[in-house]
Structure formats: C-alpha cells, structure tokens
Symmetry: C3
Subunit: 460 residues, 3 copies
C-alpha cells in the first residue's frame, strides 16, 4: 500500500500549531530567573555574591554550547550516513530539536523551577532542555528513514512530556543522581524509540527497499557527528554537576571511559570480520558507548580506572550488538535504523547499574562526611538515607525509566500509526526525494530504479 | 567579453601589500591592553581586582571562540553550496576574513581604544574585529561566484573602513545599543553588498551560466555552516554584552528566537511548494533569521515570548523572500547569490526596529532605576536621555546604516568595476577551476561544456 | 612483494593489550588531584580559596575542549584529503589518539605530578595528554597511507614515551618555556615522523601507486580539519599558560600570527603557479604555519607586530616547502604524505628560534621586575638565570628535541620495519579497502584498476 506523503498542509499545520502554542505558553508562564534579570544586582547583594563571574552563566555556558553542538551537529550529522537520506537526517533532526527545546523548557520548568505561577529560566534550563531533546534524537535514530517529519514532531510532543514526568519521578521522588542521563536520556530514549518502532512495524521493509546503506562520502559526513559527540561528551556529563570538583570529575571520568571504548570497538570490529576489516558503522557508534555508560556515575567517585573498565566493557557490548543483535531484532520485526539499542539501550542500562553500584559503595572515607551528604543531597526528608539505600533507589530508577519507555512508546506508537501523518510507503523509506527537492541529475542515477514503477511515481 | 582572470601577479601583490601595511601599522599603533600585559599585576592592585578570573578574558573568551567559528566555518561552509564553487566559497572567505580581522583591529582601535597614540587590544577587540569581518562575509554572499579574490580583498579594505565609521557614529554619536549588530553588521553588510552587486550588474549572467545551483553533497557541506552559525549565534549576540545578567539574557533571547524561526521556516517552505517538498536553501538560510532579528534587542528585556514572536515573524519573511523576492530582484538585475537580502537585509531591519521599540518601552519598573541608567549608559552628556528618546536614536541608527550602505556600496562598486581586478566573465562565474587547480578527471565531467568553446579556454 | 595486511588478530591483540595495560597502570597509579576530588572543600580552606570558580577547571576547560577538537576533528579531517583514504585518515587518527591520551596521562604523570606513589590528574593533565597526542598525529602525517593501524599504535606507544622524556628534559632540566610546543610537539613530532618514514622507505611507491591525490569533496572535508585547527590554535598555545595576562597574550599573538600566514600563503601559492591558480594543499596546510611558529613565544612579550612578522615569514616558507622541498625529499626517498616538514618541521624550528630570541631579549622594563622572575620561573636553583642565558637554554631545547627525534625515530622505524605488523604493499598504499569494508559499487569504479591483478586480490 502506498500512502500519501504530501506534506504541503500537514507539516505547516503542525509547525504553526506547535509554535503558536509555545508563544502563548511562554507568554503566560516563562520569565527570566534572577541571574538573567536586571534584578541580578539586587540578588547579588542578598546572596552575598561579590563578583559577576559567580553568575551561574560562567560556570555552565561553555558546557552548554558543547551540548548544543552535540544535539544539532552531533546527532544531526550522525544521521547522515544513509546514501540518500542526508537532507532528512540532519534537517528533520534540526526542526525536531528546535521544537523540543522549547517544549522541554516548559515541561521541565513546570516540574522544577515553577514559583509563584511562573517558570524561571536560566542557562541551566537551556542545558536541561537540550538533554531532553537528546532523548528524542535517540528515539529518532531507531525510526530514521521510516517516519515522516510530521510523525517526528508529533512524537516529540509526547516524548518530551513523558521524559519530563519520568525525570521528575527519578530526581524528585526517587531522589536519584543521574547528571549525564544514562537512565533518563539514554535508557528511556532508546527503549521508547524501539517500542515505537515495534508498534509501527513494517514486515516487508527489507524486501522492498535497498536504500538502507551508506555511501563513501555519507559515511564521512556521519563521522563529523560522531566526533563532535565524542569530543563534547565530557561536557554533556558534567554540564549540570555541582560547581567545582564534581564538574571536573565528571569530565575526567567521561574522557577516560570514551577513550577506552574506542580501543575495544576497533578490536572487536576487527575480530568479527572474516578478513579482519573494519566497518564504519561500529566506529561511528560503538566508540560513543563509553560516554553513555558513565552518564549516571561520571560525577561520582568512580575512579579513573573504574571509568576505563566501564568504557572497555561497553565498547565490546555495543560492537557485538551491531553485528549480532540488530539483525536478530530485525527478524522479530524490530527495525532499528541507527542501532540505538547498541549505542544507547544496552550501554544506558549498564550506566544505570554502574551508577547504582557506585552509589551503594560510597563511603564517608572517600567523599568526606559533609561531602557525602552534599553530593547525594541527603538532607531534609532524605537526611537519613544511606549509600546502600541510595543504590537501591538508583536501581529502581532504571526500572521506572524502562516502564515509562514501554508503556509510553506503545501509546505513542499507536498514535503515530494513524494514517493521517504522511508516513512513507516501504518503497519510499530512506529516500530524501519524498520530502525534499533533489536535483534530477542526481536522483536519477541512484534512485531511478524504484521510481520507474508507475505506482510510486504517482505518489511523489 | 571575456576578461583576463589570471591571478598570478594581482593576488600576490594585493596580499603582500595589505599584509605589509598591517605589520607597519601594528608596529606603530597596536599594543596589549592592561589585562594582556604583565602590568596586569599592577592593574589588579589599582583597580582592586582580587582574582585572575576577573580578567575580562575569562568572561569573553568562550564566546570569542564561538564567534570565530561562525566567521570561518559558519560563513565559510555556508558558501560551499554551489556545485562547483566550494573551494572558492570556503577559501576566499578564509583569506578575506584573515585580512579583515587585522584591518578591523586597527580601524576600530582608532575609534574606540586609542590612548596616548596607541591602540590597546584585548579579547574584546578580537570579538569586535570578528564582528566587522562578519559584515564583509555577509556582503560577499551577494557576490559569491561573480567576483575575483582580488576584488574581494579590495572590497574588504573599503568595507571595514566604512563599517568602522558607521559603527562609531551609531555607538558614540547616536549612543545606540546594538550588541549583536542587527544594524551595524547585518543591515549595513547586506545593503552594502547588494549595492555593490547592483553596480557590478551582469545582465546576461543567467543566460550564459548554468552553474549556479547546488549538488547533493555540496548542500550537506553547506549545512555544516548553517548549524555552526545557528548553534553559536547566542554567543554572537551576547559576546560583548555587560557582564552578568545582560550576557545571559542575550543568550536566552537569541536561543529562543532562533528556535522559533526554524519552525516557521519549515512550515512556509512546505506551503510554497506545489508538492509540499522542502528545499535545502530555505533550511540553510531562513532558519538563521531569528538570530539576525534579535541582534539589537537580545540583551534588552525583550522577554522570552517576545523573542519567540520575533523569530516566528522573520522565519516567515525570510523564507518568502527566498521564494518570491530574490527572483524579482534578479529581474531588475540585482543578483544575490546567497540571498543575503532575505537572511541579513530584511531581518536586520526588523532587528533594528525591534530594538528601537524595545528600548522606547523600557521602564524603571523592569530594569530598576539604576539598572536602566547602567544598561543604556544614560550617563555624562546622555544623563537626561529617556527611553523613548533612546528609541528614536535607535531608529535613526537604522537609517544611518542604510545610508552608509548605499553611498559606500556605490562608491566601492565603481572601484571594483575597474577592469584591473581580474573579474571573471559571465561564463566563468561560479566555477572553481578559474582560480584553483582542480583535478582534470573531476572537472571534465561537470564543467566540460563551457570549456569547449575556444575563447574561454584561451583565457583559463 | 605483497605483504599480509589482514588485521584480524593483530589489531585486536594490540588494542586489547594496550587497553588492559592502561587499566592496570591507572589502577595502580592514577588518582584525582585535589581540585577534582571531594577533598576540594578542604583544599579550598587550606589554600585560602574562596570561590568554586577559582578551581583551575574554569580557567582551562574551555581551552581544553578546543584542543580536543583540534586533535580529533582537526588532525582527523585534515587527513581525509586523499581520494580514497578518508576512513583511514579520520578513523586511525581516532584510535591512535584515544590510546595516546591515556598513555600520555601516565608518562607525563610520572614525570610531572607524581606524589606519594600516585599520579594526580586534573584538567591540565588532559590538556598535556592531548598535546603529546598532537605530536603523534603530526608524525602520522608523514606516514599517512603507508602504515597499518597496528604500526600506528606501536609507534604511538614509543613516541609518547620519547615525547615525555624529551619534554621532561626541556621543561625540568633545561627549564625552558614552550607552552605551545614549537619544540616539544612540532619539531620533535615532525622530525620523528620523517625519520621513521625514511627508515621505512618505499623506493618504488610513486611508480606503483597513483592513489596519492585528492578528490574534490575530499579536499572540502580536509578544509573542515584545517579550519578547526586554525580557529582553535589560539586556545592551543594558551591552554597551559599562567592565569591572567599570559593566557590572554598567548591568544592574541597566535591569532595575529595565523592571520598573517593566511595572506602570505595565498600570495605565494598564486606566484608559484604558471597560471596563478591556487592549490588546496597550500591553503589546507601552510595557513596553519603561523600557529606552529609562535608556539614557544606566544605567551612572551612578542608584541603584536612581532607576531604578524613571524606569521608572514613562515607562511612563505611553508608554501615554498610544499612546492619545491617535498618533491626534492621524495627523490632522496623521504616520503612525506601530508607535508609535515613544511607545516610542522620548518615552522617548528623557526618557532624555537623565535622563542629563544624573544626570551634572550626580555627585560625588566617590559615584564616588570617581579613579572620577569614569575614568567620565566627564575626561582630556586634558577634564581640567578638571566634572560640571555635563558635564550641559550631555549636554543638548546631545539637541539635536544631534534636529537630525540632522529635517534628515537631511527629506533622506532626499525621496530616498525619488522614484517609482522601488516604493513600494506606499495600497490595498496592510500587505499581504504585494505582495512575497511567499502561498498563494492563505489570501490569498483575508482580502485578497480589495481585490484585486477591476481596477486593483490589474493591478499585482500
């Protein structure tokens, strides 16, 4: 069955509706916080702050720009690896993220910085909004090439909502630590995306479509994404850590874990090929698993060698996943275009477990008596929580994230299955020309084959 | 008429002359400022500064590197979208910018940091020099593919000069606020470039040249430029704002305006195509209009939803401009290769107006009594200026910038029309092989057609 | 003679062995330093530090991320210029660097931050590790396309070791200043790589292989590397400078020197071509010579025009080197794929000399009486050293670095000549398909010719 993929009214309608809603809601709810407002001068006096450089802006802005690059160039270019889906990969990620950051500012604001009827935003809010958007980008990876931009924007609306509720439960109810988002971003994002993909399943996709493969230059474009993700991941995992030692520790742990997973990725990639040849897909993805897997524990006292060990293990797991698990999942009709299960799913769960164990093993000897309380925020109603109990709650956080992913993903998948969002037919998956003007000389050569059939031409 | 485009003596002569002049002038005039000199230790004591981190360097350097990336990778790669003009787009932007930043340090230094016969430079000077260079890169966008590198370097010499005078009039005489340069950078740059293009007009260009179109991969390269411009624009608009809340506010307003214009760009791009298909040119350009249009008001109390509204409107204006206005301008012989009128011209004027209105509406209730005076620098001879008067001066700033652009552009255009700068013939426009060694296998395929004519071959 | 290039067991073995060694050694030796550890709170009190923002992290982290980008995207993409070696250029640089930063943390740690049996690491350690890795990336440039990834990892092991010893002799024994590494990184790295290349010489390479040339898009990918190196070089040269004025001065001097070398590169590139046409190879490389050549003196009182003059000269030297010297060296069997002798070798030596002269000319009038002692660390056993003596030691540093490069390069070259590392045959040099799965449709077209011979096919 071919579907009507014409976006002419659908896409504008969704974009305008979403953006006008944002404007109205921002008008009602969103205001600058003290550090962003001229009242900063008064605030400085009240809080006994002496220097402008103590404004949180200067602690976080360099990390924020790095995270911003990860979301737009990192994820965007990572998704240009398909031979004829580069415009869509980078372009749809762009519009999805531009919407999601706005909606996340609202959703996260209501849960975390809502005072006197207003959401107060500052640089940390921007980072959190980018984080939430990252989880949508992860989920998009499973669906790349098989959903329309309208479906993506609808999914973003729901996923940002679910993300924020899940994040609130983890941080405010379970009171867990998850600065780099192994659970909230990666585990939730990956299994949400996979569940949606499973609901939307296309049993005959592989037979009807031979476009799902890279080309030489598209693989190089994808490496731009990989490297910016890899280089800036230390900023990602440290961006909202406590000022001072915690932020620096998160950087070092992430840096080491990532370095380690590069080595094991290359090692395993070479072992699993009969001729020992490498494939770009592993290098583009599994090298990043080390960053995912220290997302929860990066700011903890994971130790330098602990970080190396985590990266070592997930580099192996992730590469093996691409080789053996993704084809297996495809057989049970679980399509995963970018292999997010290998990059974000399994390493995300590992990250949650590493975080739980590291928290459970925390001692006053290592953190200092005051340091331990400060770090895990054992204060107020949580004043009597011990590290081992904290470890239990951390583990519970993984389960809650998975539950949200499966239930939420099923519901959202069913919504996206409605035949009104312009989903492409199997023949038109992984094909820019469905949604973009592509110059004819180019498209003729490579995609001519399946255009020749009268049916599909009619639809385009 | 074919012209002699051989650069062998022209380009070296201009490069050496320009650079030797820089060395002599820097030797006579340019010195480190207090924060860059070992006298910093004494300066700290005098100014009662206690910590090294209070050196302006640490407030501005992260923003500076982002701005630097925007000028060289942002503008550079944005201009690689033509199928066979990528080397020139990124390469000529490189040499132009490397010269312009030096000349801008001198020109802006004479106007702003000239003390005791010496220009004192520091990190803020580098940012301002990059800003000035940005306006030349904007103007280059209108002329991309139609001028030689020598013409570009000659234009840069004059444009930097005019920019600095215009900037001085706006900031020091009219006393306006324009931290992100909606007026000084975008409005001036765009209309200056368009005026030059109009003077240099090539009535038969469209008939003789079919190279002015993108290719699949060149469109992807261009997206690298787009995204780095988009991601770092908050740094651009906040880079020279006051320390503390103003800098953070400029970031947030720019971030929001940009996000909003992405949504409306996609919406309009889909509406205006019969089949609802998107074109990369809109995504590459109109998505950035939100950054241009809050250039003046970003650090003001524009409010979060105000920023969204500005981005919403200019996303629409800019996309419609690309679709309907650029072809119209081409009919009156106003060639605009990159569509700078849509990205920098109209949004720049909108930005100036938004700034004027926001300034006119400023109240002590919003900024605080001291805050208002501090923000608009209502001190000394300007002590009695009111917000509404300030709004008037802001509006005057737009007019002055436009006047400078038209008069200056006409004069510079006439200089560039002299037949000594190696301008390419219409047939050779948008063609790297005129100025670069391009391997034959490659060039044969795509550009063979117009090389076959004996006349043009002779010239190359 | 064709060699067995199958990586299946060699590469995994080396990767696993190297990484497991790292984990064990990190477990035994590497700990967080005070500013990265929860003991930061106590340390603050002891050292009378009042604010978290005084943590060294905030002085150095923005520079660190820039340096990180230079190593992975800068060097990585710079090496994608060959038509069919992009995967290897960016991919092998990736795995080499991921290993080298770990090993450098250990080696440099033993020499510089070893206390009570433990190496204490913080953000400055990460920067130094990236620096050391930069020198391996430089050396790799000479060998690009002619060595296997296993050879590269073996070389990295030895080169990092030699680098650290040489660095220790320069900084701790000779007590020289070399913050941007003209001597330790560039001179050492370049001549080490060239010596290895000379030992590994392949007399018939040029006859048997016609793959060593760029393609249109690969030249554009390479420009991504060039520009990120160029833009972030000011961060590189200032990353470990003293807080305050020295760091800012290093930025400004590097910025100016780089700008100047762009102009002279374009000038000379145009002069030396009969038709005045530019070649991308000059623009990709010689424009960076200005950064190399102020590596030692950037933080000194080199003066703004002094920086411009240095950039002016090395832009010329470097471009002429690519045109005339590289072909000459090739005749004496010294193959230099990326022309590192022109970009890092000669400019590195110039940088060392500029540093020696600038140090020798230092006066109390310029630096201040205290400033001079503080800057050159004339304290303890060096309390009575004068600037002119310092100049002599700086010059000695160049000689020591060269000696280490020649002797070390010879030894390592002989190790790499062992026939067990899977070095490619001359026919298979500069060819991704030897080590990577490349889709057949692609590879057929361009590399089919030399695959047709039965001998070589057998090997792949």
């Amino acid at each position: 069955m071919l579907r009507n993929t014409n976006m002419r009214w659908r896409l504008p309608l969704v974009c305008f509706a979403w953006e006008i809603a944002m404007i109205v809601l921002f008008g009602v709810f969103v205001r600058y916080n003290h550090e962003t407002d001229p009242s900063w001068e008064d605030y400085k006096k009240e809080e006994n702050i002496t220097l402008d450089i103590e404004n949180d802006f200067y602690y976080r802005y360099p990390s924020f720009t790095d995270v911003h690059v990860m979301i737009f160039v990192g994820f965007g270019f990572l998704m240009t690896f398909l031979q004829r889906y580069g415009f869509s990969g980078v372009g749809f990620n762009f519009v999805m993220a531009a919407f999601s950051i706005q909606w996340a500012l609202l959703m996260q604001g209501w849960f975390h910085t809502f005072e006197g009827g207003k959401i107060r935003i500052g640089v940390e809010s921007l980072i959190n909004a980018d984080f939430c958007t990252g989880s949508v980008a992860v989920a998009f990876g499973a669906l790349l090439g098989t959903i329309s931009p309208v479906q993506l924007l609808v999914m973003a609306l729901f996923q940002v909502t679910l993300f924020s509720v899940n994040e609130w439960i983890l941080l405010d109810i379970l009171h867990v630590v998850d600065a780099g988002g192994s659970m909230t971003i990666h585990t939730f994002g990956a299994y949400f995306g996979l569940t949606v993909s499973w609901i939307l399943n296309r049993p005959k996709l592989a037979q009807k479509n031979n476009m799902e493969k890279p080309a030489y230059y598209s693989d190089l474009f994808s490496m731009i994404g990989t490297l910016f993700l890899w280089m800036y991941w230390p900023s990602f995992n440290s961006a909202i850590s406590n000022h001072g030692d915690a932020q620096q520790r998160a950087v070092i742990n992430t840096y080491l874990s990532l370095a380690s997973s590069v080595l094991t990725t290359f090692a395993v990639a070479s072992i699993i090929d009969k001729k020992g040849k490498l494939e770009m897909v592993y290098v583009q993805n599994a090298t990043l698993a080390g960053g995912v897997a220290v997302g929860t524990a990066a700011e903890m006292m994971l130790s330098t060698y602990g970080s190396l060990i985590v990266g070592f293990i997930v580099g192996i797991i992730s590469t093996l996943g691409f080789k053996y698990l993704t084809p297996l999942l495809a057989k049970i009709r679980l399509h995963d275009t970018c292999g997010i299960h290998n990059l974000h799913g399994m390493p995300g769960i590992v990250g949650g477990i590493v975080g739980a164990v590291t928290a459970a093993c925390a001692t006053e000897g290592v953190y200092g008596a005051e340091g331990l309380k400060k770090f895990f925020k054992f204060e107020g109603e949580y004043a009597h929580r011990t590290p081992s109990v904290q470890g239990g709650y951390q583990a519970a956080g993984i389960c809650v994230s998975l539950a949200f992913a499966f239930v939420g993903g099923t519901a959202v998948g069913l919504v996206l299955k409605l035949p009104i969002w312009g989903a492409p037919s199997d023949e038109n998956c992984f094909e820019d020309a469905v949604y973009w003007e592509v110059l004819e000389e180019e498209s003729d050569v490579e995609i001519g084959n399946h255009y020749a059939t009268p049916d599909s031409t009619k639809e385009l």
